[in-house]
């Protein structure tokens, strides 16, 4: 290079698809991390274990978690059982780890300062991180559902689906409803993921952020169990998580599903705007 090279323009050109590359980089990193892969492996083991347990000892109707008794008749129910089992603890755990780590992990290891001086503006970084966490959340739910479906199909076969209302629908409709269930769970967990991201902007200690995020779920579940607080139950973070059951009724109350989804997204919007404000004003000292 010679001095003449400094006639490079003062504003460097931006290449097309820059945000897509940033997002892909985020997802790529989360999928190359051994810890995250282990989390997905644990999640995939749950439907597998339930499937094998049911295969070895046929449960009666009404035993254990919802839908357990129906698995032997139709492997598709393993998807619903697995999601029912995973949604109170395992899925929030995974979402808590990934979202709690998102900003705090980078701050703690110092990589945040290098990302910001690349530069990735803070707003861009938050959006890319949010999409990355959302992608991983969706992936976690999909892993449970797909492993459940495959395990159920292999061990028990698939067939027509008896809904909670007692009516029977075709396998195709049943699969569509399973898709609706999974999508709803993803949206529900996204509210939590956004909370985790906000908490993640508050600290440089990723473990603390993860623990606090998971604590958020526990506090919400606890408040939900106190009957004296029934007035606020409807707006609690975790209250409508099991609302996916709506997809398994004969007459799906679309308005209710949309209302609950709107609540999850409202949580996400508030948490993300808090995260944005915090990140904007954050001093990066690590």
């Amino acid at each position: 290079m010679s001095f003449a090279d400094l006639t490079l323009p003062v504003v460097r050109p931006r290449y097309r698809g820059a945000f897509w590359r940033l997002y892909k980089g985020e997802v790529g990193i989360s999928l190359r991390r051994r810890r995250n892969l282990a989390l997905l492996a644990v999640l995939s083991a749950i439907p597998l274990m339930i499937g094998i347990a049911v295969y070895l000892s046929t449960p009666r109707a009404g035993d254990g978690p919802a839908f357990l008794g129906q698995i032997t008749g139709n492997g598709l129910f393993l998807v619903f059982t697995a999601l029912t089992v995973c949604i109170p603890v395992f899925l929030p755990l995974v979402v808590g780890v990934v979202s709690g780590d998102s900003i705090a992990g980078e701050a703690g290891s110092g990589t945040l300062r290098y990302l910001l001086t690349v530069p990735v503006t803070r707003t861009r970084l938050l959006v890319a991180k949010t999409l990355g966490v959302a992608t991983f959340t969706a992936l976690a739910v999909a892993v449970v559902a797909v492993v459940g479906l495959v395990t159920g199909a292999v061990l028990f076969g698939l067939g027509n689906v008896t809904l909670l209302s007692g009516d029977t629908v075709s396998l195709g409709t049943g699969l569509l409803r399973a898709l609706g269930v999974s999508a709803y769970v993803m949206v529900a967990l996204f509210g939590l993921a956004a909370g985790g991201m906000f908490i993640s902007t508050l600290t440089e200690n990723a473990i603390a952020a993860m623990a606090t995020t998971i604590g958020l779920v526990m506090v919400s579940a606890l408040l939900d169990a106190v009957p004296q607080l029934s007035a606020i139950h409807g707006v609690l973070l975790t209250h409508n998580w099991l609302g996916f059951g709506e997809f398994l009724r004969s007459n799906v109350d679309t308005a209710a599903v949309l209302r609950w989804s709107a609540l999850h997204l409202a949580y996400a919007a508030v948490f993300l705007s808090l995260a944005w404000a915090r990140l904007q004003s954050k001093d990066v000292t690590s």
Binding site: V11, R21, R32, L115
Partner: protein, 330 residues
């Protein structure tokens, strides 16, 4: 570099380069942490093309200043101009032209050196994705890390980590490099290489701000220096300017001490002292050229046996300014 050529070829005409605009200029830059003032009214001036040695003991506010320059910390008051543009408002336009190494390297331990650089490169909207591979390879080779490119970062030695940090700063052609302690953890060979690298970058026309605790090194490569202590910028300027602030001392060796002393006093030199044992007269040189002193001593009839002029070392200057040596932890 081919990458630079590509980037140059694909760009449109920007405003003309103006050598008069400094690379970095701050006015009244101040930052407090609670009641403690970390940086107090700092007016930093780094001219284009300079190699600016940024000196100061630990806790003097160097890193806080650097973090404010790069938009990591917000200033309480004062203004920052980098490459002619206000910061942090023009952060997105300025920082692609700035390579930085801040308080040591930081990368993802579970990724290889190459993967870590790729991660940073894909995050840069101004980096050409088509040349990403070559630029990463070039940066790695420039810091001598080609052999360890496929190794996981967690297995790197301290020196290798430092080199990877430098490579990250060199992924794109830069107009300004901000290198915080770039030789930290490097062996003498590595230190020499970094010195060479900085010279090379400066020759290419880049401005380099180096903070370092290796004073000798800064003396060797810096064209300008700034000395910070207690959050204040005590001295700043070209190396010669700053060093001349600390006066040179002239020592005249002669058996005729009385005549010599009289001559020096007549010239107006201050702080003259006699050393009868060594037959020497010493005084601060000030603005007087050394040959004028020699002439005056001879004219006074003293037998001039020797005359030396001693300019102070950066270290002496530093100690005299900050009241302490380097690497004093507060």
């Amino acid at each position: 570099m081919t990458a630079a050529a590509t980037a140059a070829a694909t760009t449109t005409q920007g405003p003309p380069y103006d050598a008069v605009v400094p690379a970095i200029r701050t006015t009244g830059l101040t930052r407090r942490f609670g009641s403690q003032v970390a940086v107090s009214a700092v007016d930093l001036l780094v001219p284009r093309g300079a190699v600016y040695g940024f000196l100061g003991p630990n806790g003097s506010g160097k890193t806080t200043t650097i973090r404010m320059l790069l938009g990591l910390l917000a200033a309480d008051s004062g203004e920052i101009e980098m490459l002619g543009q206000p910061m942090p408002d023009a952060l997105a336009q300025v920082l692609p032209r700035v390579g930085a190494l801040i308080e040591g390297p930081a990368f993802h331990p579970y990724l290889t050196g190459t993967a870590n650089l790729r991660r940073l490169d894909v995050s840069d909207a101004t980096a050409n994705p088509a040349t990403s591979k070559e630029r990463i390879a070039a940066a790695l080779s420039r810091v001598g890390l080609t052999a360890a490119a496929g190794k996981k970062y967690r297995n790197y030695s301290l020196g290798m980590k430092q080199r990877l940090g430098l490579a990250a700063a060199l992924l794109q052609p830069r107009d300004l490099l901000v290198l915080d302690e770039p030789t930290n953890g490097l062996d003498p060979q590595g230190t020499r290489e970094v010195r060479h690298l900085v010279r090379e970058l400066a020759q290419d026309g880049a401005t380099v701000l180096v903070s370092s605790h290796l004073l000798a090194e800064v003396e060797q490569i810096a064209t300008h220096i700034g000395i910070m202590s207690g959050g204040e910028l005590l001295r700043q300027g070209t190396l010669t300017e700053v060093l001349s602030d600390g006066d040179a001392v002239v020592t005249v060796t002669t058996p005729d001490l009385g005549e010599a002393l009289e001559a020096l006093l007549l010239l107006g030199l201050a702080d003259a002292t006699l050393d009868r044992e060594h037959q020497q007269v010493q005084a601060r040189l000030g603005e007087i050229p050394a040959e004028a002193v020699a002439q005056a001593v001879i004219n006074a009839g003293a037998r001039l046996r020797g005359l030396t002029v001693e300019r102070p070392h950066l270290e002496d200057l530093f100690v005299s300014l900050t009241g302490e040596g380097f690497d004093v932890l507060r």
